[in-house]
Symmetry: C2
Subunit: 336 residues, 2 copies
Amino acid sequence: MDELRPDYILQVGLGFWASKALLSAVEMEVFTELAKHAEDLETLQGRLGLHPRSARDFLDTLVALKFLERRDGRYYNTPITDFFLDKRKPSYIGGMLEMANHRLYPFWSHLTTALRTGLPQNEIREGAPNPFDALYAEPARLREFLRAMTGVSHGANLAIAHKFPWSKYRTVVDVGTAQGDLITQVALANPHLEGIGFDLPQVGPIFEEYVGTNGLSRRVKFVPGSFMEQPLPKADVIMMGHILHDWNLEIKRMLVRKAYEALPQGGAYIVYESIIDDDRSANAFGLLMSLNMLIETADGFDYTGADCSGWMKEAGFRETRVEHLTGPDSMVIGIK
Amino acid sequence: MDELRPDYILQVGLGFWASKALLSAVEMEVFTELAKHAEDLETLQGRLGLHPRSARDFLDTLVALKFLERRDGRYYNTPITDFFLDKRKPSYIGGMLEMANHRLYPFWSHLTTALRTGLPQNEIREGAPNPFDALYAEPARLREFLRAMTGVSHGANLAIAHKFPWSKYRTVVDVGTAQGDLITQVALANPHLEGIGFDLPQVGPIFEEYVGTNGLSRRVKFVPGSFMEQPLPKADVIMMGHILHDWNLEIKRMLVRKAYEALPQGGAYIVYESIIDDDRSANAFGLLMSLNMLIETADGFDYTGADCSGWMKEAGFRETRVEHLTGPDSMVIGIK
């Protein structure tokens, strides 16, 4: 037998099949339907509006991909899809996948053009308005989107809440806080802390509801504002999750300086997202996220821990370190 | 820490990122360029026409996905990408991925519509001519496409050549033979056999060249014809690889009957492709291939070993068995 086999090439090259099957399942609310109760093929086919030609192959594909289970002819959610992909649960992260299905999948079909021109390939390409402006103008859609962001980042948020030496600090600000899960987890795990979530004013009610549900309204407050136009609220620790990669180098450096200015001597700055490994040869998700910034933004990009440490040192931070959180995510910590 | 994590959901849901990065790399001939010699970032960026914004992220993504290596600032193919994705090598399978990039990736964006309507979502949807008609009309493109099919199926072809008890038989026909790699591998491993490749007349010169290169012109001949319209050439063994799934149930049964009629008593019929497991819960690739038949054909579908054995029994075969080959591929064997 030959030594060389093309299996891995074909598996990745046709990997969009499995990806799109899951995205269509989220779009058709397969998991929301099955969260009510298990159903057989005929019932599910009718409920979901699947054509008889495709229903069985589609549902069995989801079984083979481990997103559903089938026992005695009835389909069930797995514990994971029931928790994360049932639209009626607060833990739903399907908003992220709905966005990937409607927007990113077709935009990525223009990846080659993006690679050749360096230009974004999303709505901006056609001169349409930035879809995030519309999102922020509609409270119901914004709430769902921010909730999806929470689900996606929750594991890393928990890791930050437990790994960072919070006992040394008393106050914390989360910049671009969204629904507020990061500061919520940090405050829940560290009852001595007082915190502020800082974001655009539209985010306020969604943040306050989430923090209230978690019983933290006394210790965790919302401060409206724009990190682009204002100084950051002052605190012992400044956190920025999934913020820096959206922007160009100049704005990245400006945001790092703003964090430095908001901290006391000895204060800590935590930057986190899918930080690329320094050798740029291992964290494929972080590198792909940077290509997604190519598709989605004019000049955003992801970066390594060493890159971020360099910007921190330039801004005056005396000490930096990188710590892995979970999956592709790491945090870069700068001490003033 | 919570027990439930969304990592696998996000990995598959955003799996089209890695898929499209590889497909764009094939489109831009990254591997063909690097097969000449290793190159540094600046040179490669210029040669490939990559924009400075995207070049490094793109190439390092390919490194992190294990399609390239980077040593001392120079990019190299891996042994596998050098063998399968260099356009100038006969082992190139990029034709398959070029097709996936230009056609299947955008067509699969309509998967939800296909699931709801049961209708194909390829060129047929827009009333455009079937692209395979155009392919068969252009010898150079057809040669490249059939070569890609060889690369994709070569591992399974070798497995059939070695696993099947060929010593019991003297003659073999490969139906829908394409470039002829299956019958070539079977004949190379079994010097006592004489074989026929049966396919549309346009395939003849491509088949004969391939068989000639392998030194088999004396033992392996081409017979032009259509398995839809004519009886199959007679032989001790009839093989059909990646044929049955293109067609509806009625035509599948007709082809199984034609195989039966072409065989002597005791003769064997070998059907092979990504046969779905009988429980339809394990071979995700086989099930996704069936969804690809939904996208690409009016009524084709993939099937289990039990389905195929059933059609064989109906046609009169007295004994059937299923044997795994390699990756997602299995063969179903019927004995007359």
